[in-house]
Symmetry: C2
Subunit: 379 residues, 2 copies
Amino acid sequence: MKAFYGDLRLGILGGGQLGRMLIQQAINYNVTVKVLDPDREAPCRRLCNEFVVGSLSDYETVYNFGKKVDLLTIEIEKVNVDALEQLEREGVMVYPQSRIIRLIQDKGLQKQFFKENEIPTAEFQIISSAEQLKASSIPFPYIQKLRRDGYDGKGVYKVVDESYLAKAFTEPSLIERWVDFEKEIAVIVARNENGEVKTFPMVEMEFNPEANLVEFLIQPSTLPFEIHQEAEAIAKKIADTLKIVGILAVEMFLTKDGKVLVNELAPRPHNSGHQSIEGNVVSQFEQHLRAIFNQPLGDTTCLSNAIMVNVLGEAGHEGPAVYEGIEKILKREGVYVHLYGKALTKPFRKMGHVTIVDADREKAIEKARFVQQTLKVIS
Amino acid sequence: MKAFYGDLRLGILGGGQLGRMLIQQAINYNVTVKVLDPDREAPCRRLCNEFVVGSLSDYETVYNFGKKVDLLTIEIEKVNVDALEQLEREGVMVYPQSRIIRLIQDKGLQKQFFKENEIPTAEFQIISSAEQLKASSIPFPYIQKLRRDGYDGKGVYKVVDESYLAKAFTEPSLIERWVDFEKEIAVIVARNENGEVKTFPMVEMEFNPEANLVEFLIQPSTLPFEIHQEAEAIAKKIADTLKIVGILAVEMFLTKDGKVLVNELAPRPHNSGHQSIEGNVVSQFEQHLRAIFNQPLGDTTCLSNAIMVNVLGEAGHEGPAVYEGIEKILKREGVYVHLYGKALTKPFRKMGHVTIVDADREKAIEKARFVQQTLKVIS
């Protein structure tokens, strides 16, 4: 491994905010960073040694990009996996491994993986046709999810009763029993090539139902210790079973009857880990780098109560972004602003995040509410 | 102020590690960063929107660079101040202000400033000729310092007795009474345009006498509370008197008889503040950005015991840098590696730093010793 000398060429597929924060941390390790993204104005554009504009789903583009690096990682799952497989055969290190990205790209395969490995998840059925959907044994209401290319709530449809079937997806999908959950929780786990596995403490999330995005995340969770243990054990089991190299976000539901069910996986830095930049001994970005460089994994202990608030483009505003209220929120102690360098805002676009830390949990929550009310991205 | 929208053009004079760490933090605020440095391989080279190769001491170069930015800051004092003055007259924001850089570039003017403002400092005399030196009233041993262009121990000469005078500097200099100090201490203070002033908690330093560089810095200091108060009050007084915008590192001696004497000022991020990246609520880099953007200053509270160890090129090694022992030090908890992206090492060159945090001070010191013994930069 040639890391630390500036001659390790790290390629990142995707040049969004996750790549941007990964680069911010990678600066500490002298790596040469190349980024591929279709958007020539992507957030990583000016922060890397080489920025290549091109399609992440095109075989030739991904292959040619990958041939020029030593180690390839992702900040988005929707990439050409055939190219990654070929690159692996030709000796490029691809972390997470192509087989894991392939598995996770397909929500059907992901669910089958959970079932085969006895990982608790909501009851489901793979659906290939409208007839199968009608004949399904899962009771209403249920959730239909496209097997591929859904994200941030897109490609998800709630089937409340029979009348909803007419508008259901006709593409390959899966349906899942409706989970009456108490909380959405998440654990980020990391594994390096040596097989060392380490979890971050479990976090609790709150979603903005309108935007269907995580908008508020808090650590440490105040749920019972057994729930932490169970969620972290599930995340470890998945990392061990997959033998992933890199970090993996495991999104879970805590049901009203106290069960932990895995919802979805993301084999990359994840929105549910942003609080770790200020809130934990090492951040998810540092941990991902340590994992893919095959270095010892870092201490994930919480330093404080930490809340992450997504900064979303205001509804009704589209165009060049204007940030209102930054000065007001910076007046409060323990408030950290992260803007993602996106020139244009649109409703609910992730434009940045703010982390709030405070030794007093209630004060942290009060500050988070203040941040949510005060910071606006308009046009 | 157009910060946060990507259209504030921030210029940095100097592209070394201080600029690099400033950019790492500035990424959070969407600024467009331009850097001027004479070395085309400078650490900032690949991390900014525009990197200009050119002399920092040439009027035209600095002026032309400054005309293309909205806000100009420095990461090194040795820059053309005439150009900065002209830029200020033409409406470019220059922080720290040119008059402060001019004052600090000249150790003689700096000392006179201390005297005029009753800031405690070692007794001194300005020297313009060999005759003045011989006739000086300051007793042996004393320190002779070049008024201009000394740094990291260069331009400093200890005059032990009369026999040392033959090798004394003949350039404009100052001589200072030898201070029999107990400790070197430092306080970083920040001031924004609104006049808000905030200090970081005082740190203690240990120097490597061979390299004549800070190699070990610890916070919080265990010196008596009154010393903290006095050092921080002095730093505040200097910032208020100068009306500086930006951060200012105030290096001080604690004498064996308990007096705090100011040694030197640096109006920029400083080696004595690197521990703040992980060790304080906000880092010196964040604080400098907040000050020059005229935002509320951040909370500077220590989060933990934090030790900063400079990573210096090993004696006897010159050439492409090889880092030994990184894996071993990353195995220890709370160890943060910062490499500066310098391709070539030479004896005692600052190649990076490591911060060690631990709730237990003795453990932090033990880990710092381990890091010093384990991490080597060879060729």
